[in-house]
Symmetry: C2
Subunit: 497 residues, 2 copies
């Protein structure tokens, strides 16, 4: 490594360390903060973020990047990827005028309060004016990075580097044409399973079983923790401290278990990144979509499969002998794979889930390109719900107000969930080709062949490759594919077809 | 408040917020950090401290202070105290050359490693060379703030603003002449009490009782937490988030209980400071000695008293009905007030404790003034141990190597423990004069009269007054006093005398 790269790595390490510090404060805020300390904590995070922003947009960093770009490293080196990422982050950080950044931050903070109130009063109109303003600000933001006709691309790119609307349109069209029929068929064919909501599953046993599960998946408690929060999440403070959280509902034990598996899927990604990338912008997933592919693959492809529960159901029975006494393996699988249309995205199963994303994608593209007005959102939302899922939400709270993403400015985020689902299925096909007999290993409780394969093929690279480049390496084709996902759903839910 | 003070408060708030952020990272390091994340955390704290130092020594802050000092506020205003504290902190921060600060920080880090190894190998010589260097660096540091003949004053002043060696010499001489005889008499007179170390006190019950105790003391879980660490401590992230920790040994339940009371004493100080002082350098105790007076008053004067256990022993019996079945109130009091000479400071009772401090005070003054060489420390230590406590430590680990203070550069710190003990006794006399019947209230389990008195007389002022000023306000005399402490020990331990 040339001396100049040593300087760049030092400058980037400083930024990474401050970012980690901010993440510690946020983690503590979610897990252990005393209720009366919210205001103080918000100010501490804000102070830290000001210093982080200053470091990330420091002119010296810009000069280091400029100098290195004059003699660019070879395209297949880590240095090349590092310099590219440094440039990307630096530009995102410096190109946005301070007034716009402040305006966005203040407006989203206000909109978040509006959103809470709108949900309470079941009335979207409370949120509409500030949401309108956010959209205008996001358009201004996007215009810094893309021409008018590709504004939405610029927003996608924040979460999914290089992703275009044109490519998404193609693959989402395939889902749009195939999913509704598939949902009909699955619902018609499915067998009824038990409902556990009349039984109490003690919190301590849920937590103990969940710890066993993530340990079996390979979660490393030497470099991580599992704690409780209202909403489960994964965070990291560098690659040697990756923490996951879950939530517990004594009437819904599947939720805790599947959350743990999901978050552990994210955590294994971070824990599997090459240590040499630590404290650089490459110590991250290739994209949100790739990150979500890891959580979803473990949650859906693995932890809803017959093979997985062949291994772990006996163990679960030991923790809940009374509650599950009358539950057979096939009962349990029917329950964990139940498909039903819901008006709520986060309560949806893997068959109907992507319809919720298609709907949001349709709408947010229109909003960002100024072809739909905020005031018309509830009507448009409900129309699309009827079209995709034959459901009319009972009110705005269970309709257009259900997600926090838009009020907090997260336009372009939703598609990454579906990208994650598609990638998970594509990886699942690939790993079965490369590791014949994988299901038998899983059925024997051996999860390390899958984990090691994911580490070798995906995790260790971190953000070294752009999502398209990584797909090219993995699948020999950079394009997103809907086929593997549709085949996976069909195979799992319509095995007789 | 004049506009200039608004600017000063903003600049100080930024520093306070970053300091709080660093404290969060340190708290997490002690409580919940995964074992493999130590290195990363150290780097994050270092990065944060660099930004903190930059903010605390920013030229703009210096200019604000200079400008305000040209038209100083009236001496009895908060602004006066704020400006004085800002000047004090700014000078401490900017007057130390960067090379000296870095040299100190690197040498103490190395010395800490040496200290651990020296303890393991029971050999002071492993630590001696780096300790010698630390003393030389501390002399250079002190010389920035005081002339040669008052170097030790400059070190004292870091912890105990305005404290002079001359004043300490007087009051410590009184202790030196009175304590050894008192110890002899107490040991001769004391009755034997039960030893609980053959009984197991389950951790969960210890924790539950401790939570009850700190709640009764007035610890506010809306603005604080109680967690487990190897070494108990109190920290705060601003005045709305004050956290204490304790440790649990199933064979030594008194240790957990008394630690909780001690740390809660510190916490009540922080929680009692006027909210308007939050995010300023005045949101702190008047000095380490005053802080320690609060923890010690609750731990010793209160939680070793007959009145306190009249209220709380029945409650303790409910948590440990079997373990304490045969233990009467007088048995229990004898056990919790047992006096015996120990070679270890932190295992000492309140009667012998200050002898350990006198010894360290004698030695560190000589070290800083260059009148004793490091190589001679073990011999000098053991000689003084025999003189004060008639004990010869079995080896260096239980002798001169027992404390972490010197290897980490904490010269001038030890006396604050004794200052705390003296102040606690002086406050204890005062509160009994001002609140007649206090012991009866305590015996009824009512701790809020004492807490509210301490808040009104001590806590709410934070660091607004220098320790001498606060003593003048409280006692009508700024000088430290040994009398109340000696009277207190005599009354409690030699009631017949």
């Amino acid at each position: 490594m040339k001396p100049n790269f040593t300087v760049l790595k030092q400058q980037l390490a400083e930024i990474a360390d401050l970012k980690a510090a901010a993440a510690v404060l946020e983690w503590d805020q979610q897990t252990f903060l005393p209720p009366g300390a919210e205001k103080g904590r918000a100010r501490q995070i804000a102070a830290l973020c000001r210093h982080l922003h200053r470091a990330a947009s420091a002119p010296e960093l810009g000069r280091t990047i400029d100098a290195l770009e004059k003699q660019p490293p070879a395209p297949d080196t880590v240095e090349f990827a590092l310099l590219r990422a440094a440039r990307r982050h630096y530009d995102r950080c410096t190109r946005v005028p301070e007034t716009l950044a402040e305006d966005l931050s203040a407006t989203t903070a206000e909109a978040y309060a509006d959103w809470l109130r709108a949900r309470e009063e079941h009335d979207f109109r409370i949120l509409a004016p500030r949401l309108e303003k956010i959209i205008e600000l996001k358009r201004q933001y996007a215009a810094l990075f893309a021409p008018e006709e590709r504004l939405y691309d610029a927003l996608l790119d924040d979460y999914e580097p290089g992703q275009t609307t044109a490519e998404l349109d193609v693959v989402f069209a395939e889902l749009r044409s195939r999913l509704p029929g598939l949902i009909d068929a699955v619902i018609a064919a499915q067998q009824s399973g038990p409902d556990f909501s009349d039984r109490a599953f003690p919190a301590a046993a849920q937590m103990a079983f969940s710890r066993d599960l993530v340990t079996a998946m390979g979660f490393d408690f030497q470099h991580g923790r599992l704690d409780l929060t209202e909403h489960p999440f994964t965070t990291d403070f560098g690659l040697d401290d990756v923490r996951i959280t879950t939530h517990i509902d004594e009437r819904d034990f599947l939720s805790c278990i599947l959350s743990c598996v999901h978050e552990c899927g994210h955590a294994l990604y971070s824990l599997g990144i090459e240590p040499e990338l630590n404290r650089t912008p490459l110590a991250d997933g290739a994209s949100l979509g790739f990150h979500e592919s890891q959580s979803r693959l473990w949650e859906n492809q693995v932890a809803r499969s017959a093979a997985f529960w062949r291994a772990f159901l006996p163990h679960l029975h030991r923790y809940f002998p009374g509650q599950l006494a009358d539950v057979s393996e096939s009962d349990f699988l029917a329950a964990i794979n139940r498909v039903r249309r819901s008006e709520i995205r986060i309560e949806s199963d893997e068959v109907t889930y992507n319809c919720h994303i298609l709907l949001r994608y349709d709408i947010e593209k229109e909003l960002i390109h100024g072809r739909v007005r905020c005031a018309d959102l509830p009507e448009l939302w409900n129309e699309k719900m009827r079209e995709y899922l034959h459901i009319t939400p009972v009110d705005d709270t269970r309709g257009v107000l259900q997600d926090v993403h838009w009020p907090t400015g997260g336009f372009g985020y939703f598609p990454t969930y579906t990208i994650g689902n598609l990638l998970a299925a594509q990886l699942w096909e690939l790993v079965h080709r490369e590791l014949p007999g994988l299901d038998d290993r899983i059925a024997a409780g051996e999860l390390q062949p899958l984990r090691e394969w994911l580490r070798e093929r995906v995790h260790r690279h971190g953000a070294r490759y752009l999502p398209g480049e990584l797909r090219q390496r993995l699948f020999g084709d950079a394009r997103l594919q809907a086929g593997p996902f549709l085949r996976y759903l069909t195979a799992r839910y319509l095995p007789e077809a």
